[in-house]
């Protein structure tokens, strides 16, 4: 164990440009997926929070359940859909980064929506009556509350990013772990583990953790900066 760890740290210095390219791909795919997840999940979650309609409780329950979607199932369903023999086969998206973005977006969207719903529901408990007295429609109220809670929503974005960048089940199935093309940090770590090169796998794991740390730090800085600028 201690020998493996020692090797791990010495390997860190010898990681080459391949690893940088892999890290960059992971980052690009997961950030894009989170972007899509935010664009869809924030409005959806906020609307569910402010709107009152029959079956709302069931929708909320379903949304919370979807936070636990197993990545490998999402990967499998997308694989069958994107396969040449599947309904979206003509686009030739299987085994491309775009397919990995789609898979991670499917994982990120319900997570963002569910967390947003909770944040917006809390915000509405404070401001809802006031907003309703202004005779605003549900989408308008949702918009105001999203703006009001925008800093809390950063946490939802970071949670979605964490889920996306650390999952392997979906990207492995729809991406195919193709060297130099769809190999991400997680599939590379898995491959090195399979080859029995445990110290290299751990070194790559440290790189992945640093990436996540860097993104979280960037989000914290941005949040502080924006908070100062816009109050």
């Amino acid at each position: 164990m201690s020998q493996t760890l020692q090797e791990t740290f010495s390997r860190l210095w010898t990681l080459d440009r391949d690893v940088l390219a892999i890290a960059w791909l992971s980052l690009r795919v997961s950030l894009t997926a989170v972007g899509i997840g935010l664009a869809l999940g924030v409005p959806l979650g906020a609307l569910i929070a402010v709107a009152r309609f029959p079956g709302r409780g069931a929708v909320v329950g379903l949304l919370n359940t979807f936070m636990g979607l197993p990545p490998v199932i999402v990967g499998l369903i997308l694989y069958l859909a994107l396969s040449r023999s599947g309904p979206f086969g003509t686009f030739g998206l299987l085994f491309t980064p775009a397919a990995m973005v789609a898979a991670q977006a499917v994982l990120a969207t319900p997570l963002v929506a569910a967390l947003t719903r909770q944040v917006i529901a809390d915000a509405e408990a404070h401001l809802g009556e006031q907003l309703r007295s202004l005779c605003l429609s549900a989408p308008q109220r949702a918009g105001v509350l999203i703006y009001d809670a925008r800093f809390s929503l950063v946490t939802a974005a970071l949670a979605a990013f964490g889920r996306a960048i650390s999952e392997i089940g979906a990207v492995l199935v729809v991406g195919g772990n193709i060297d130099g093309h769809t190999r991400t940090m997680t599939t590379a770590i898995s491959l090195e583990t399979q080859k029995g090169d445990l110290s290299l796998a751990l070194a790559l794991g440290l790189v992945l953790m640093s990436l996540v740390l860097a993104v979280n730090a960037a989000a914290a800085l941005l949040r502080g900066h924006v908070a100062k600028a816009y109050g």
């Binding site: 690009r28 775009a98 703006y147 080859k195």
Partner: protein, 275 residues
Amino acid sequence: MDFLRRSVLTLSLLAALGAVSPASAEPASIVVASTTSTEQSGLFKHILPLFKQKSGIEVKVVALGTGQALDAARRGDADVVLVHDRPAEDKFVAEGFAKARQDVMYNDFVLIGPKADPAGIRGKGVDDAFKAIAAAKAPFVSRGDRSGTHSAELRSWKEAGIDLPAVRGDWYRDVGQGMGPALNTASSLGAYILADRGTWLSFKNRGDLTILVEGDKRLFNPYGVMLVNPEKHPTVKVKEGQAFIDWLVSPEGQRAIADYKINGEPLFFPSAKKG
């Protein structure tokens, strides 16, 4: 509100760019469905740059078990398959999913186990070794993933006259994974395992494992290559796929395969028919 609208707009633009841009600037490429043994042994990393330099074609390898690789090709998700399970390959051709199969190379299987060798198989023939393992109920790790190696293992039990479903018990561990993970498991359990020599040579976490049986004719492990039939799947890139196959079986491609060595030991031996 404005802030929100702007950020959503920017994000979706970024998303669209990120998803679309890599596809537009790509050179000619093909998808090859192959096996974990060829990928994990490092062979592709050695030969593909040579082919790309020569032809300009990028080869994207998806490494699966042989059974899965053939299934992916059946669905039209690969242009070329390079696998090692002769009966399954012949079936693939018979079903019309490929017009022809060509020999490319071979390596061999080795029976691996703990140095202490509790079942006493060292130096035995394949049949006797498998019989001894079953008789001793010594821990054995099976791939269990419909790979070429898994098929070869199942054939070996049968040829040794052992009715596996009848005798299997706790000692027989079906891991359902690739060669590497199966070797990792065998290494930590001190179990016997059938492995392809290529993956074994490049495998690093050997622990107490060593080769106990090798060199038997029946452990021969041939690899075949096939172009997916474009009449089944019009999306198959015939020209580029055929160029890759032609290169693999050409003297140049065969030499590239033979030149790949780990610690001076070759992993694969070229076997394409000349002419």
